[in-house]
């Protein structure tokens, strides 16, 4: 304390009082509880009701979970163990069915000695997605992403390595045609880039792969699509649908905005027809109707048919979501792009789509999550996805009568995937946030 004040003021406190605890009711948990849960008669009532409800749910679920039996050979064994350990009337989950059959729920009928292949395929998939999803990874890694679909196909289905390579070569052929012809005429180049690879795939790719395979037989044991099942099947159908439907959906959205009459009307008709009919109808079309159109003896892989249908279905939805993003852009953006002298594709690629897609992210991810869960509909056409396998597992004499345990496990697997997608979408939205709100 300075001397000046000592003359004028009679009493000055020279040291700070020690901090005191706030009154009990004004701090910590108690305050929070009082303010948030018991602040008025209505809140008190609601709190008590909610607590009663939570207690009711937990009192039924918790014993069921906590008393679960994890190793037994059949449902009746499960019940015997429960009777011994917890008493005859205890509520108890029999998760032994998951211990016994988890490999089927995850891999379907994939040969057990090759379980490493789907796992490698999953790792390849994650590695290929990383450069697409996260900007921090060097752009050169995108070349790996482009090659990944062929690699993943080879790892999952096996067979000779030359098949996927010969198909991949088609894209190189297409690009070479485009570059070669664009010296003469842009339209000719575009047409050539579409027609030549198709001719190549139809007539050259098959014999070429066959010839190469007979000269240098490198490959893995072939696993037919019939052996695919369980969560692996859902994942492959879902992810193939998601990855293929995004570019297709963007093209459709642009087509719908286009001034060119035929392109515009085709896109509108495609979107409206696909979107106006339930997915289950398209799946039945894929599995039943196509069989009547195709000549007898043609065995066009059912899984491929389903992937195509799911992709078309999702792309119609994506197109509408992207169209919402395109419509949300001010007209000035389009005009500015034109004023810069950019041609159509450049203005879309550099100006319009980056903004439109950013606006559409929540909608796109929403569609993807919906699509991924809709893959369980394939159970109705006899593909053994997790739901289909749960029926098959219940049909075995050991596990007949088991119900919720399988659904809990399947639900958990789907939740993990959908929740990560949703988290990624939030991350992406925050990263791309440019407005100052």
């Amino acid at each position: 304390m300075s001397d000046t004040h000592a003359q004028t003021v009679r009493f000055v406190r020279e040291s700070m009082l020690p901090e005191q605890e706030p009154p009990l009711a004004e701090s910590g948990v108690l305050k929070w509880v009082r303010e948030n849960l018991f602040s008025g008669w209505l809140n008190i009532l609601l709190t008590v009701l909610s607590l009663a409800f939570i207690w009711f749910v937990l009192s039924h679920l918790l014993p069921w979970f906590l008393n679960s039996v994890w190793s037994a050979g059949s449902l009746s064994e499960c019940r015997e163990i429960r009777d011994e350990v917890f008493g005859p009337d205890a509520s108890s989950a029999c998760f032994a069915v998951i211990t016994d059959r988890w490999h089927q729920l995850v891999f379907g009928f994939y040969p057990p000695e090759f379980y490493w292949r789907p796992i490698v395929a999953l790792l390849l998939f994650l590695a290929a997605m990383a450069p697409v999803l996260f900007a921090g990874i060097p752009r050169k890694a995108l070349w790996f992403s482009a090659a990944a679909p062929f690699l993943i196909y080879f790892v999952l289905w096996g067979g000779t390595i030359w098949g996927p390579l010969a198909v991949a070569l088609g894209f190189v052929v297409g690009y070479a045609t485009f570059v070669g012809l664009s010296r003469f005429n842009a339209l000719l180049a575009t047409l050539g880039a579409i027609v030549v690879p198709i001719l190549y795939w139809l007539f050259v790719a098959g014999p070429l792969a066959g010839a190469l395979a007979s000269v240098l037989p490198i490959g893995l044991t072939f696993v037919p699509s019939d052996d695919f099942g369980g969560f692996q099947l859902s994942f492959i159908i879902g992810m193939a649908g998601i990855l293929l439907s995004l570019p297709l959906g963007i093209l459709l959205a642009l087509g719908r905005q286009s001034n060119l009459f035929i392109i515009n009307k085709t896109s509108v008709a495609f979107i409206e027809i696909i979107r106006g009919v339930p997915l289950i109808v398209w799946l039945f079309t894929a599995s039943l109707l196509l069989n009547y159109f195709l000549p007898p003896g043609t065995n066009f892989d059912l899984m491929l048919r389903v992937i195509i249908m799911v992709t078309l279905f999702a792309s119609a939805y994506i197109a509408e979501v992207v169209r919402g993003g395109l419509a949300a852009l001010p007209k000035g953006q389009y005009e500015a792009a034109d004023a810069l002298g950019l041609d159509y594709w450049r203005s879309m690629r550099l100006i319009i789509l980056p903004q439109a897609l950013k606006i559409s992210i929540p909608g796109i991810v929403n569609t993807f999550i919906g699509l991924f869960k809709d893959t369980t509909l394939v159970v109705f056409i006899g593909l053994l996805d997790p739901i289909g396998l749960s029926n098959a597992i219940r049909a075995s004499t050991e596990w007949n009568g088991i119900y919720w345990e399988l659904f809990v496990f399947i639900g958990l697997m789907f939740f993990i995937c959908c929740f990560s997608m949703s988290r990624y979408s939030i991350y992406l939205e925050n990263k791309l946030q440019r407005e100052h709100r």
Partner: protein
């Protein structure tokens, strides 16, 4: 590669379309495996075990045919089919035969253009009720709520039965057998009705099966059997006589245990003809003389298959009933092998 194969197949399809209709036997032998349609899961009849191998009473018929035709009971590609997809799969040639607890009816045989090759299980629709309900006959069910699978013949049979007996009921529509078990146990319905074999399998899964009874009335005829397409009678004959061989084997006491001994020749000419040591029956259906030996060895004769998959020693615990040999008062009656 798949796409290439498909598009290529489309181009040449016109040429092969005519030829593919007949000659299923050659197709199967060339392919080296039998495409057999089964249910996506029905207790005792078809279900994958934990190693992923299909097992069951319907599955065993597929294996017997594969053994007869290809010499290998494991050379079967099982195609799981649902109630909706089964007939298209067979009609389109995706599968060579369907062995999926399918009821033999007039319209399926004629309108859908299929050929039922026999009956491997005589079933009928029954009722399952809790004992506490105090009901002893289906005639006492007036006003009951009934759990019933939608879109099946059981739904129509139920309506017919209640109408002819002047009774009312309230249907509780359900989709799958597993759902029905839950609804029934939760008390959402008083009665569960489906095929009697299904009821027995369902009751066996309950914690206290003795608290529930299957009523004595069987209200419909459900002869379940394997079927093939119209238009290839040779193939149909192979499937029919493979099934008959299994049934006849039980009648004549040929089992998987004694078949090797009997195949060396016996003094019963019928057994000798079945097992190919006499006559040329195998040649007549386009196979070799050992075809029936292989079919029976695949899993045993009809009785052995029944006992292993759905019989009284299994949890499903079905009695032979109508499915006993004709000599035992049942309906199984194989035409003579001559």
């Amino acid at each position: 590669m798949k796409k290439t194969a498909f598009l290529g197949a489309l181009t040449v399809s016109g040429l092969v379309a005519g030829a593919a209709a007949a000659a299923t036997l050659e197709d199967v032998q060339e392919r080296g495996n039998l495409n057999c349609g089964v249910s996506t899961g029905l207790p005792g009849f078809s279900a994958p075990n934990s190693a992923g191998e299909w097992e069951g009473f319907d599955v065993a018929v597929c294996r017997a045919v594969a053994a007869a035709v290809l010499g290998d009971p494991t050379a079967v590609e099982f195609v799981p089919t649902t109630g909706q997809t089964r007939f298209t799969a067979l009609a389109s040639g995706e599968i060579d035969m369907l062995s999926r607890n399918t009821t033999w009816t007039f319209s399926r045989d004629n309108d859908l253009k299929f050929e039922f090759v026999g009956v491997n299980y005589y079933d009928g629709q029954g009722f399952l009720v809790p004992k506490a309900l105090g009901v002893t006959s289906a005639k006492d069910l007036d006003g009951a709520t009934v759990c019933i699978q939608t879109g099946t013949t059981t739904e129509l049979n139920l309506a017919d039965f209640f109408r002819t007996n002047n009774m009312d009921y309230e249907p509780v529509p359900i989709e799958t057998n597993a759902e029905a078990q839950q609804q029934y146990l939760a008390g959402a319905c008083d009665v569960y009705t489906t095929d009697a074999s299904g009821l027995a399998a369902t009751r066996a899964t309950f914690e206290t099966p003795s608290d529930h009874v299957i009523l004595p009335e069987i209200i419909s005829k459900e002869p379940l059997g394997p079927l093939v397409r119209h238009g290839d009678n040779e193939w149909g004959d192979i499937a029919r006589w493979t099934l008959n061989a299994l049934i006849a084997a039980e009648e004549y006491g040929i089992t998987s245990a004694n078949i090797d001994e009997l195949a060396e020749g016996t003094n019963n000419p019928e057994i000798n003809r079945i097992l190919g040591t006499e006559g040329n029956l195998g040649e007549m259906i386009g196979l070799d003389s050992d075809w029936a030996v292989r079919a029976i060895k695949a899993g045993g004769n009809y009785g052995e298959l029944f006992e292993r998959h759905i019989g009284e020693s299994t949890p499903i615990g079905l009695a032979r009933g109508l499915n006993a040999q004709w000599t035992e008062g049942g309906l199984l009656y194989s035409p003579p092998f001559r």
